[in-house]
């Protein structure tokens, strides 16, 4: 069995599982945020009307809650959703509620590893499609809707069809100026936005294990954009150390067997990877940066679970140091702990000196919610994950998805720019 199958076998109390088998798995961790939380509350109300008990959760200590999409409250409706969420966690005894403006807060897929909320070998489900991100820790991490999350909260289990696994092997270390984002965009360009539909995407090879954890998280994060059920990387010493620094040592990490089966293996040579963008209006519409360098931009957006982790901000700081931005540039660290670390490392001053805006952690404009949404015909380069029509605002705005290095280099020139071509 491969790692995904091993985790699903353990969680379903089976000795082994095979692709396409339908199983019920016991869930180890579950998460809701300020969109899926009120969605689940609505499902609970429906269930109550049908006479189904919603009096208590299966295990409130395994549930955590983040506020990230419409915070700081964009308007009255989102403010009310935050109040609803607070009442919900209080009533059901959920203690791990990362309230906005109260200690640690930020985007859920960043808190999951920053706070060691999910551990290797676990089954983690959450009411958000980018839950796949957390698979970089060696967990089975999968996004679900409101009904499924309500079922998990009440029963502690959920059904899955065991996915086939596509294995992506990166040989050698990525060259300077090339990031995990370039690699995953290349993969999505190759296999398409349904290329991994219903499947697992596993990453390995020297190039992946050379990467920082933040970079690995970019790979698993974007598996959602290829339609994958989960993205996963077998954990190594870097993961063990990261978790130990946060006091998490009590878990059983799983790895695939030496004869693990994969539906297909894709091999890439790191030395051949180049700075890459996904053009509007699909993450599969990829091009190397040097072939799109004539595109004039209105804005650079550096934010989201995909592109505002500490290593992402470090890459942006490397480019912006001693330079000025030529277009509106908005930088929103993914969690307040990352904001603080960026401040301590001098990045925030670099961003401000360059003329950029630095904002609070929020999903914000990535999902077209607020805090920097795009107007008609505006063209944005963004470190986020999706560029469907209207994703970041007006349906006729355009988003180019790129790495933090490409986004920062483009902010400096006002055109889509390969960081290698910056003076």
């Amino acid at each position: 069995m491969n790692i995904t199958e091993k985790i699903l076998a353990r969680a379903s109390k089976n000795e082994s599982v095979e692709p396409d088998e339908v199983i019920f798995v016991n869930v180890d961790k579950a998460m809701l945020h300020d969109v899926s939380g009120p969605g689940v509350i609505k499902v609970f109300e429906k269930l109550q009307k049908q006479g189904i008990s919603v009096d208590k959760l299966w295990d409130p200590s395994k549930v955590w809650v983040a506020e990230d999409h419409f915070v700081p409250s964009a308007e009255k409706v989102s403010a009310e959703n935050i109040v609803k969420l607070s009442n919900f966690t209080k009533n059901y005894g959920i203690e791990k509620h990362f309230k906005y403006g109260m200690g640690q807060y930020g985007i859920c897929h960043t808190l999951s590893h920053e706070e060691a909320l999910v551990l290797p070998g676990e089954v983690y489900v959450a009411g958000d499609s980018h839950t796949n991100t957390t698979g970089a820790l060696g967990a089975f991490a999968c996004g679900l809707g409101h009904t499924d999350m309500a079922y998990v909260l009440l029963n502690g289990k959920i059904w899955f069809k065991v996915p086939e696994t596509l294995y992506f092997k990166l040989n050698g270390k990525l060259p300077d100026h090339v990031m995990a984002k370039d690699f995953i965009l290349r993969i999505i360009g190759d296999i398409g936005t349904d290329g991994a539909a219903y499947k697992a995407m596993q990453f390995g090879g020297t190039g992946v294990y050379e990467m920082s954890i933040d970079e690995r998280l970019t790979l698993t994060n974007m598996t959602t954009e290829a339609g994958a059920k989960n993205g996963i990387i077998e954990p190594d010493q870097k993961i063990t150390d990261h978790l130990a620094e946060r006091g998490a040592t009590n878990y059983t990490a799983l790895k695939g067997d030496s004869n693990a089966q994969f539906a297909k293996i894709f091999e890439y040579e790191a030395s051949e990877m180049e700075p890459t963008v996904a053009k509007p209006f699909s993450p599969q519409n990829v091009s190397v940066v040097r072939e799109t360098s004539s595109i004039e931009l209105d804005k650079a957006y550096i934010g989201s679970c995909t592109g505002a982790k500490f290593e992402d901000l470090k890459a942006v700081a490397k480019i912006l140091k001693g330079r000025k931005v030529k277009i509106r540039t908005e930088i929103l660290p993914a969690a307040i702990s990352i904001y603080k670390k960026a401040l301590e490392n001098g990045f925030i001053k670099i961003f401000l000196d360059a003329g950029a805006m630095v904002g609070p952690p929020t999903c914000g404009a990535c999902c077209g919610a607020h805090m920097g949404v795009l107007a008609k015909d505006e063209i944005c380069i963004s470190t986020t994950n999706r560029n469907f029509p209207g994703r970041m605002g007006h349906v006729e705005s355009q988003t180019y998805l790129a790495s933090p290095l490409v986004a920062a280099a483009s902010a400096v020139t006002g055109k889509i720019t390969d960081p290698r071509d910056l003076n």
């Binding site: 969109v35 899926s36 809707g145 009904t147 339609g227 999902c367």
Partner: protein
């Protein structure tokens, strides 16, 4: 199940056009329905009728996990989406929440069915009758688990 077709001849109709992100804060089903398909077809709300079907290409519902997407379509009156394939979260949200039926059709049926056609779908026999053209198509049968959840009326009524 009988209804008329609203056809979108394209692949990858994503959740951002089915229900744009700015409305994710809304959880009133009737209000969500007024914004269904707004990113692709601003006239959808005024033309959709109770019992209608959507016909579309590959990977319908790709993108976000927002259950708002099948909710907005269902509460607009859509009883089924007939597509070449579906993205996984949209598919399971539709089934587990007992919203619209996600029905997979083949290329032949997809090409043959036109906007406005009247279809009759029989999920017991997997047959689709096109009353406008007098043609018959086969839908892809639901897998065992999906069939059982649909028959039960959603995940909460399903007994494993």
């Amino acid at each position: 199940m009988k209804g008329n077709v609203i056809k979108y001849e394209q692949d990858n109709i994503d959740t951002d056009v089915i229900l744009p992100g700015t409305y994710l804060k809304i959880h009133d089903y009737a209000e969500l329905a007024t914004h269904a398909m707004e990113g692709l077809d601003p006239d959808f709300h005024s033309k959709v009728k109770e019992g209608d079907f959507i016909v579309a290409g590959r990977n319908f519902g790709c993108g976000s996990s927002r259950e708002h997407a099948p909710i907005a379509l269902t509460h607009s009156g859509i009883k089924a989406v007939l597509a070449l394939s579906f993205a996984r979260i949209f598919y399971r949200n539709a089934v587990d929440g007992a919203f619209l039926l996600p029905i997979e059709i083949d290329e032949n049926a997809y090409k043959d069915i036109s906007n406005g056609d009247e279809l009759e779908i029989n999920v017991a026999t997997n047959e689709i009758n096109n009353h406008t053209t007098n043609k018959k198509y086969q839908m892809k049968p639901f897998s065992e688990i999906i069939g059982k959840i649909i028959a039960a009326g959603g995940l909460f009524k399903f007994k494993p």
